[in-house]
């Protein structure tokens, strides 16, 4: 599990950990049934307080992303649940909000944004298919 913590940033560390695990799950890099590292192990490898990791795990558990199995440990929940999709949408919504806020500041209209998204999608898709052709 790849997590990167930046202390001395605005976002509290427990939230950085929780968000990154949410992201890993939403992106399919952690799958249902996969075990999360024990709290103390993760705390020592990230060099953060174990209570912080415990809090991150609690948040993830409340959001239904992970589940505790008695004393065995913490596992990623079944991803067939609609919660996972909701989580993905939430992550993307945050990004879209940022984009819209910046667009507003730069006086770019919604129509222009939509056009731009479509345009970028085509560009990325065509460069991807070129990559696969090259390979």
């Amino acid at each position: 599990m790849q997590i990167h913590i930046t202390a001395n940033e605005g976002v509290p560390i427990y939230l950085q950990v929780a968000n990154q695990i949410k992201y890993l799950v939403a992106a399919g890099r952690m799958v249902a049934g996969e075990e999360l590292p024990p709290i103390r192990t993760l705390a020592e490898s990230l060099m953060v307080n174990p209570n912080t990791i415990a809090r991150a795990y609690r948040e993830l558990e409340m959001a239904g992303i992970v589940e505790k199995r008695r004393t065995l440990g913490t596992y990623v929940s079944d991803q067939g649940s609609p919660l996972a999709r909701r989580e993905r949408m939430k992550i993307l919504s945050d990004r879209v909000d940022q984009l819209l806020a910046e667009a507003g500041n730069m006086d770019v209209s919604l129509e222009e944004i939509q056009k731009l998204v479509q345009q970028r999608y085509s560009v990325i898709r065509s460069s991807r298919s070129k990559d696969t052709n090259d390979a």
């Binding site: 202390a7 001395n8 103390r40 020592e44 060099m47 307080n49 209570n51 415990a54």
Partner: protein
Amino acid sequence: MPEPFPSAAPPIVEIDRLTRQFGNKTAIDDLSLTIPRGGVFGLIGGNGAGKTTLLRHILGLLKAQTGSVRVFGLDPVACPVGVLGRIGYLSEDRNLPNWMRVRELIRYTEAFYPAWDSKYAEELREAFDLDPLARVKNLSRGQRARAGLLVALAHRPDLLVLDEPSSGLDPVVRRDILGAIIRTIGEEGRTVLFSSHLLDEVERVADRVAIIHKGQILLNAAVDEIKESHRRVTLRFDQLQERPPQLIGALTQEGSGCEWTYICNGESEQVRRAAQALGATVVYDSALSLDEIFVTRVSQ
């Protein structure tokens, strides 16, 4: 599994209205502070803020002139054995006996602590790569800090006190020290109290922090709470403002014309409502680092 924090157990340290003067200089000024059992308590403050003086009272090295200090419910000056036997201490200047070899330092310290764990001491010595035959005076700065940490940890103290543990050390040794803090509180019920001016470290390992400034406590709260209750917001007003309009909870303000930036105490939603009440819109809203919060608080 770390125990819930703060713990319901009686506090480890209780300081009540402590004042300390050196000549005509007031080092500690009518200070009260309670440190709960379990977890990591970070004491942050600039040079000369009173951090070391406060720690020295907790260790019983200084007697309270006015007010009282209780550690494990005892007066550390009247009961040094009962208090110091349960504390591990790493001082800022790491004053270790220079003429001893590492092996002698370990044996010498062992004699003071009935609870000394020789096996653990040996594990730490190996992990820290300390040569048992090396003289303390010949140790590098980093090895000296590790030797100090070893003798502070090997009796598995209930309270570990570290005064500026990372100052002047390279990142590898700092990592050892942070690791020791994290492992110490992994063991149930142990408490770590450390002072530091490296706020990114404090943010990583502390559960609670207290800001000390001019001998007084300016802020004492859980780290997450502190971070969640301070925002930097930029407000845009419809009309030019000669001076910044008063925003509730604002600690600082700067700007000009229609846009003013505030650092304020309050959650995002509260701040937004306060801005609305002034007829302004929030055009920028971000959280602050502990560093920025510290600077804001002490420059009030």
